[in-house]
């Protein structure tokens, strides 16, 4: 058989080039479709904070898009709570803000999208404010959307997602079982201080009497810590915006 070094090297180079072209070609071809899929998934996650998962699962892609158009209006704010409409000459919309990229910047330079969930067709009748959250889990990034009722204190619902938490442990943050624990909790204490909601260590205790604590996930304390940090960081960043909205109403 052909065993010379030249042959092996030539063979490897040709193989690499062929496979490389094949892969980059596919990526080019499928890129736009994938982008659309990701955008749709983000919409589902945003709506997931205020809607039942089953209801969303039953909707077709264009129904979701249409519902999103009709019920969500969005804006972008900075850490001072001021609305940002353009940056470096380019228009800024909530849908184009990459929360993950912004996370890498210092907190006061980030852009913070806000999604306002209102009754279908009438923008004045606000039902909930949906804020994105982002942070680090145990292995990789975690993120989510937090929906606050119009009192800007009570949690309407949350959705979480993750890039690489352990299946069955930290990855449970994506389940409705864990997410529903946040419903009805409050982010401000009675004196008006922002305390967020803290997931506890250990699982199986009843925290229904405490407005700022939720039951933990057994075996996933570090993921829970990530979730808690994400709440504190991002709610802190949105605090001035929340104050502003409260002041106006």
């Amino acid at each position: 058989m052909q065993q010379s070094n030249t042959y092996i090297i030539t063979f490897s180079v040709i193989l690499t080039v062929v496979l490389g072209f094949l892969l980059s070609g596919t990526s080019q071809l499928l890129g736009p479709i994938q982008k659309e899929a990701v955008a749709l998934d983000t919409k589902k996650q945003i709506l997931g904070a205020v809607m039942d998962a089953e209801k969303i699962a039953a909707m077709k892609p264009n129904e979701i898009k249409e519902y999103y158009e009709n019920t969500i209006s969005s804006k972008v704010v900075n850490i001072k709570g001021e609305e940002v409409t353009e940056q470096e000459g380019a228009a800024v919309t909530a849908e184009t803000v990459d929360v993950a990229k912004n996370y890498k910047k210092p907190a006061d330079e980030r852009l913070y999208p806000v999604y306002i969930y209102h009754e279908e067709g009438s923008e004045d009748k606000v039902v909930a404010y949906i804020l994105p959250l982002y942070g680090a889990g145990l292995w990789d990034a975690i993120w989510g959307y937090l929906a606050l009722k119009t009192d800007l204190n009570t949690i309407e619902g949350v959705t979480f997602a993750h890039a690489g938490e352990t299946p069955g442990l930290g990855a449970r943050i994506t389940t409705g079982d864990v997410q529903s624990r946040y419903e009805g909790k409050k982010i401000y204490d009675e004196s008006g201080e922002l305390v967020a909601v803290e997931m506890q260590k250990g699982e199986g205790k009843d925290y229904s009497g405490d407005e700022h604590k939720v039951d933990g996930m057994s075996g996933a304390t570090l993921t829970a810590k990530g979730v808690n940090n994400m709440f504190v960081n991002y709610l802190g960043a949105y605090e001035s915006y929340l104050e502003k909205v409260k002041g106006n109403s």
């Binding site: 058989m1 052909q2 065993q3 042959y7 092996i8 063979f11 596919t26 994938q34 749709l40 069955g168």
Partner: protein
């Protein structure tokens, strides 16, 4: 043939000695007598991980069939040009490319599935069944035979994980392919009657138990014994 060949499989090169002319055997052997999961005990990781529900399991099975058949075909076509010293890397490159293709396609057209299967599609690369068939079969056989061999092995893998998923979903969630079976049955017996689901089946432990039972039943039937 069951005992002898199956044993050899455990050691090194599987059934290709008795390939002869009967191509049917290429497909039927891995289904029971030389099943990659229950006899060769390969690909267990994904068999445990993706089998809580039928739907992702089916997608996983189809992906594995695609990857094994295509890689077997590709390697078999190239087999006389592949330098033996780098053959493992060449095989790996081909498998990795195919798996990446599957992953990209899922991401574009079935994003929810892509999220659900997540890392396990990527891990098809390390599924020993794939590399095993390439080394043991595709490197030394003609393309058509290799396709059949790959298809047989992939089918042997698929029906086992689908069987495991069937019982896990039925007993764990009371559904099959998302259709509520337990609810329907319960409703026949009136209001007070309801079938309970078993949480154990949803956890990986459930897969171990089901897989163990399948292996038990199968080995009782075929008389296969491990030494």
């Amino acid at each position: 043939m069951s005992t002898e060949t199956a044993e050899k499989t455990e050691v090194k090169k599987p059934a290709e000695a008795l390939l002869s002319k009967r191509r049917k055997k290429l497909i039927s052997d891995p289904l029971v007598d030389d099943n990659p999961i229950t006899i060769q005990v390969l690909g267990i990781c994904s068999a445990l991980a993706v089998t809580t529900q039928m739907k992702p399991t089916l997608v996983m099975a189809l992906s594995v069939i695609f990857v094994i058949v295509m890689s077997n075909l590709t390697i078999s076509i190239m087999r006389n040009t592949i330098p033996t010293r780098v053959r493992i890397i060449v095989q790996l490159a081909v498998v990795a490319t195919l798996v990446t293709l599957v992953n990209e396609i899922l991401k574009a057209f079935a994003y929810d599935m892509y999220k659900e299967l997540s890392v396990f599609v990527g891990l098809i690369i390390t599924n020993c069944i794939v590399m095993g068939r390439l080394e043991a079969f595709a490197m030394g056989n003609k393309p058509y035979d290799s396709i059949l061999d790959g298809f047989g092995s992939a089918l042997g893998y698929s029906w086992i994980i689908l069987a495991v998923a069937f019982f896990r979903e039925l007993w764990g969630s009371g559904t099959v392919f998302g259709i509520p079976v337990f609810e329907t049955i319960s409703s026949w017996f009136g209001e007070d009657f309801s079938l309970a689901t078993n949480g154990l089946m949803v956890s990986p432990v459930g897969a171990f138990i089901i897989l163990g039972l399948i292996i038990w039943v199968q080995r009782t039937k075929t008389g296969y014994v491990e030494h």
